[in-house]
């Protein structure tokens, strides 16, 4: 599983990578996930439905991430713009 973060001037950056079936790597992923949320990031998981349609799920906790997903994308949380 890869954690990618959108950043100005970079596009996405790989911030963590690991196998959720390996306990130590899973712990590191959990820590990385919490760090990103603490920094005010939102997390989304790109998904594919059984009919092939692509969608996305927003996740608020590591446990909500499907175990078989390949990547989680972090991006800055939304703020009301140009009032």
């Amino acid at each position: 599983m890869k954690f990618l973060r959108m950043r100005p001037g970079f596009g996405e950056q790989l911030i963590a990578e690991g196998d959720v079936e390996v306990a130590e790597e899973e712990r590191e992923l959990v820590d990385a996930f919490r760090r990103q949320l603490d920094l005010g990031m939102w997390a989304a998981v790109p998904t594919v439905r059984s009919d092939g349609r692509r969608e996305a799920e927003m996740v608020r906790a590591f446990e909500e991430i499907p175990r078989d997903t390949g990547r989680v994308i972090f991006f800055p949380r939304a703020a009301g713009g140009a009032a």
Partner: protein, 211 residues
């Protein structure tokens, strides 16, 4: 009387606290990031068109890998994405029950909600994804990252992003004539795409007979 007024004041203060906390959090985060930059002597990197171009190319690849083929083609050809609204459940609550509606997503512009049946514009939802760490001085994501963030947020939790956005009537930031032109372009684009798909299907059916 005094007790009632005090209770009311406490409730009002609690509500104000609840409302202002996210704003205070963001301001503190921005201030911390700004101090960190000053400490490290980073006065904000100069604008580098090459860097921004590379970032945009990476962002486009990420967008392409996440959205549907039709949506990618729409963004590539027209410069915006359409996402269908999900709150029009015929049995659901709210004004839009049973009515199809959709959003147009532009890079670094408000999300525009409209009724596809009539072309009527509903609202503008002004929303940004500012990265206050500002690695190169600007909090702005590359264009395609901004579009992907909006797409994922609308797909994954439409209500949440709509609640976070500033709601305005159409025309506040996006010219309604431009949106109407874009809707017309979208309609034409879809018809041409459909015609191409039909032609390709007919040719495929004809091939075995020729062979």
């Amino acid at each position: 009387m005094i007790v009632a007024l005090s209770a009311t004041a406490i409730v009002v203060l609690a509500l104000l606290w609840e409302i202002s906390m996210p704003w205070i959090d963001r301001r503190l985060e921005a201030r911390r990031a700004s101090r960190a930059r000053r400490r490290t002597g980073d006065r904000g990197a100069a604008y580098d068109p090459g860097r921004e171009r590379r970032a945009e190319l990476r962002a486009r690849e990420l967008l392409r890998s996440c959205v549907n083929e039709e949506e990618w083609a729409m963004y590539r050809d027209l410069g915006f994405l359409r996402v269908w609204g999900s709150q029009s459940d015929p049995d659901g609550a709210g004004d839009l029950r049973g009515v199809d509606y959709a959003y147009l997503i532009y890079p670094h512009k408000p999300i525009v909600a409209y009724l596809p049946q009539t072309g009527r514009l509903l609202n503008e939802y002004c929303v940004e994804f500012p990265d206050e760490t500002r690695p190169f001085g600007s909090p702005r994501l590359p264009d395609s990252d901004d579009v992907l963030a909006k797409w994922m947020a609308l797909q994954g939790d439409e209500r949440r992003i709509i609640l976070e956005a500033n709601l305005h009537l159409p025309g506040r930031q996006v010219d309604p004539r431009q949106v109407q032109r874009d809707l017309w372009r979208l309609g034409r684009w879809e018809r041409e795409r459909m015609a191409r798909a039909l032609r390709a299907g007919a040719e495929q059916l004809a091939e075995p007979a020729d062979g």
